[in-house]
């Protein structure tokens, strides 16, 4: 089932184009990783999805309804955690969680208390005294304790400690198993790799890559570390070989995934003593899109 369908979405702030023809779909039971550098339009996309910003052009449908006109209907089935959780300094964490839950529907007190316990949050403290991580916990508990169908999480773990991060990841996997849909915007690529079925990369307001991780890996490079009996030569003449470094352990380099067969054939002629390979990482894919690109000032004022 299609949970989110964004078609040709454009959003302008005055003369600045924050989003330019974004297309994106997310289905039920799917975890989408939404990645991109600061100011690339992640938060703007999320705010348009939530009907907080009005699109300039295009169509944005959530649960098949219009994100702007039917915002309230849609939000009854959405749980959202903003990237920067700004809370009311004079309310306690417990009060805010209850408020957030009640604005969606009824409060499941058991689930709420369990989560408060698990995330080690003191709900009697005023939000003024919470650290960034604790404010984020308030947002996460309120989201996870709800029975929403779609979870929109904007960099939800940026202030959490590794224990809490792992707890969060467990909960995301549980939600996926229940068939919920999760829209996860993140900088932490290892987390996206661990959690997400599909990835969309946004840069300067345009989606430049999207697909399942397996699909995208075709676009990435495999790391190889090779030691041969006779010195390995000619490697740099091949297309698709990058970043060749020599060390006492052998020769380390990266190979475009589609060239790997050709390269292995070549090096086997030199008598392989040792070969280690590391799988392609999302980080490499990400870096490939950004490295060498002209430095653009990240101008999105509403992003991050």
């Amino acid at each position: 089932m299609e949970m989110i369908r964004i078609t040709n979405l454009t959003k302008k702030f005055g003369s600045f184009t924050a989003l330019n023809g974004v297309d994106l779909t997310v289905n039920g039971g799917e975890v989408l990783g939404f990645i991109g550098p600061n100011g690339s339009g992640k938060t703007t996309t999320i705010r348009v999805l939530l009907g907080i910003l009005k699109k300039t052009e295009g169509d944005v449908a959530v649960f098949g309804k219009d994100a702007w006109a039917d915002a309230v209907e849609i939000h009854k089935r959405i749980a959202y955690v903003p990237g920067d959780v700004n809370l009311w300094p004079n309310l306690t964490g417990g009060e805010v969680i209850d408020l957030f839950l009640s604005l969606r529907g009824t409060i499941d007190t058991d689930k709420r208390d369990q989560l408060i316990e698990k995330f080690h949050l003191d709900p009697t403290k005023k939000c003024r005294t919470y650290s960034k991580g604790n404010r984020q916990k308030v947002g996460l508990i309120a989201a996870l304790a709800s029975d929403a169908d779609l979870f929109i999480l904007d960099e939800p773990t940026s202030g959490l400690d590794p224990l809490m991060e792992r707890l969060f990841q467990e909960h995301v996997n549980e939600l996926r198993a229940e068939g919920k849909c999760i829209f996860l915007s993140s900088h932490i690529l290892s987390e996206v790799e661990k959690l997400c079925d599909r990835v969309a990369i946004i840069r300067e307001g345009e989606i430049i890559e999207s697909g399942s991780l397996a699909d995208l890996r075709h676009l990435t490079r495999t790391h190889l570390l090779v030691k041969t009996k006779t010195p390995l030569t000619d490697l740099t003449f091949f297309d698709g070989v990058h970043e060749v470094h020599e060390s006492e352990n052998g020769l380390s380099f990266q190979v475009d995934s589609e060239k790997i067969d050709e390269i292995i054939r070549h090096i086997s002629r030199f008598g392989i003593e040792k070969i280690e390979s590391a799988p392609p990482k999302l980080e490499d894919l990400f870096m490939r899109h950004y490295e060498g690109k002209k430095e653009v000032p990240s101008g999105g004022e509403t992003d991050d």
């Binding site: 939000h75 903003p82 309310l91 805010v96 408020l99 604005l103 709900p123 009697t124 003024r128």
Partner: protein
């Protein structure tokens, strides 16, 4: 080992000065402008002694004494007139400036975590506080000199150089003294909002205390710093030692603030931070409940303040009655109406002041919607099943309730104190209706705020300028002989002056319709625009 507590104060003071230079400039220009135009205008309007003495007659009553303090009414020169009408009010505003400016860089920056960044740099532990105080001192001195020499430069006979310098110095000292009050509260409370609130409460308390004691027992006014301002008898006997008392008191306050700062931990205060409730009450679980809850403390404080204001004015009514009874000229001036006491005929003047003060909290309540937006807290609500309709409606409803409540409490206070002190008593319905008749004007101000939030949120400050304008025109309009036209372009100028005038429905209905249209437009705009 050398004492490094004040290391790098100079660099920090320069930094704070840079941050605040425009803000300070506006305060300076505003205070100077309002101070200088008054004597210039008065000299023009009341050029003869007789004319001025006639004004003095209208001032010789307890209500005016409560409002502006005592003055040299026997020798009412242009200078004496200026000092009487303007000095106290300007001192209150200068005090407010001191509180707001120093709070930003004491508890404000500390609560935001900026002080932590600064203390991690090679700066002394006391350096930032000291720097903030030095900047305030500089501002106070500049204010004193600009106003002092500015007044002297007007070249009006009675406006002497010595008096002018004392006038300016008292304003500078008031700003510095209340900056000291705020610096102490910034140490006591770990929370910027309550520290600001308590400082302003002391400011208003000092004003109101003096209002009552100036009428009831003049000697007790010595206990209020504003008593020192009026007792300095600027332009008459120029009591410079009162300026020294004020500066001395300010220095004591700063010593206390430095001491408290030295013995406490960063981001802590001395007033206990209570832990709160584990779960939310039922009331909170609704946008309207949330709007109410977020503003609860402010609502209670303002409500108490308005009631005290009403009681203060009400308690001088009996003195006024006695005074009027012995003054034939006034009896003639106020056209006698059969069923009204003379004090009652003077009430509209008091009600205008009360009504303008009472419009501040509801406009703040409406503007809270914008401030929530700027703090990025609206997205929590709009990202859940709350419509913009509900959200806007909640804040508007609360603002209207707030406006009605504030005016009612002040009027009730005035009636209760007046009724208790006056021999003949006061009619409850007459007084309450005379006060509540101002509600449509408040409604227009709330409507204007709602309109701007919907259509031009960046221009929201415009409401405050409009309120300031209204206050200026209604407070000084008669004195400066402004054309009626100035009053007509503010909603408060259209309110019937009850109980002296009969209450007519037409202006009230017209104002309400205008206000309702503004609200509807604001609502439509809010529904259409991006949330920041």
């Amino acid at each position: 080992m050398t004492n490094q507590s004040f290391s790098n104060t100079g660099a920090l003071a320069t930094f704070i000065f840079r941050l605040d230079r425009l803000r300070m400039l506006w305060w300076l220009v505003g205070l100077t402008f309002f101070t200088l135009i008054v004597p210039a205008a008065l000299a023009n309007l009341y050029s003869s002694d007789q004319e001025r003495q006639a004004v003095a007659e209208t001032m010789t009553n307890p209500a005016m004494t409560a409002m502006v303090g005592p003055g040299d009414l026997d020798n009412y020169t242009v200078a004496a007139m200026t000092a009487h009408q303007m000095l106290l009010m300007t001192a209150v505003i200068a005090g407010l400036m001191g509180i707001l400016l120093i709070m930003r860089h004491t508890r404000g920056d500390e609560e935001d975590g900026k002080l932590e960044l600064i203390q991690a740099l090679p700066t002394g532990r006391m350096a930032y506080l000291h720097a903030a105080v030095l900047v305030q001192l500089l501002l106070a001195v500049v204010l004193a000199l600009v106003i002092g020499f500015g007044l002297a430069a007007l070249n009006i006979d009675s406006v002497t150089v010595a008096g002018s310098l004392l006038y300016g110095a008292l304003l500078g000292a008031s700003a510095f003294f209340f900056a000291g009050v705020a610096a102490v509260f910034a140490q006591l409370s770990a929370n910027t909002r309550s520290a600001t609130g308590m400082s302003i409460a002391v400011l208003l308390g000092a004003y109101l205390f003096r209002a009552v004691t100036d009428v009831v027992n003049d000697d007790l006014s010595w206990l209020s710093p504003f008593g020192w301002v009026t007792k300095a008898e600027v332009y008459t006997s120029n009591q410079w030692h009162l300026l020294l008392i004020m500066i001395g008191a300010a220095l004591l306050l700063f010593v206390a603030a430095y001491y408290l700062n030295a013995i406490r931990d960063l981001q802590r205060g001395f007033l206990p931070e209570r832990t709160g409730k584990r779960t939310a009450s039922r009331l909170l679980l609704h946008p309207l409940g949330l709007a109410l809850r977020l503003q609860r403390t402010g609502l209670i404080a303002w409500a108490a303040g308005m009631a005290v204001l009403g009681v203060s004015y009400g308690s001088v009514l009996e003195d006024m009655e006695t005074f009027f009874a012995s003054n034939e000229m006034i009896q003639q001036m106020l056209a006698p109406e059969e069923d009204l006491t003379l004090a009652e005929q003077f009430l509209p003047t008091l009600f205008v002041v009360i009504a303008i003060v009472a419009v501040i909290p509801p406009v703040m309540a409406m503007n809270k919607l914008r401030s929530e937006e700027r703090h990025e807290r609206l997205e929590h609500l709009l990202g859940r099943a709350v419509s913009r309709h509900q959200l806007f409606g909640a804040y508007l409803t609360f603002a209207l309730f707030n406006g009605a409540l504030m005016m009612f409490l002040a009027t009730l206070g005035l009636w209760a104190a007046g009724d208790a002190s006056m021999d003949e008593g006061l009619s409850f319905t007459t007084i309450i209706s005379s006060g509540m008749v101002f509600f449509p004007a408040a409604f227009v101000m709330i409507g204007l705020a709602a309109f701007l939030i919907g259509f031009a949120p960046k221009l929201l400050t415009g409401v405050w300028l409009y309120i300031l304008y209204t206050f200026f025109v209604l407070y000084l309009g008669n004195l400066l002989d402004l054309h009626d036209w100035y009053g007509y372009i503010t909603p408060f100028g259209h309110i019937p002056e009850a109980p002296a005038e009969t209450i007519t429905a037409l202006p009230l209905i017209t104002l309400s319709v205008i206000a309702a249209v503004l609200c509807a437009l604001g609502f439509a705009g809010f529904r259409r625009r991006d949330i920041d």
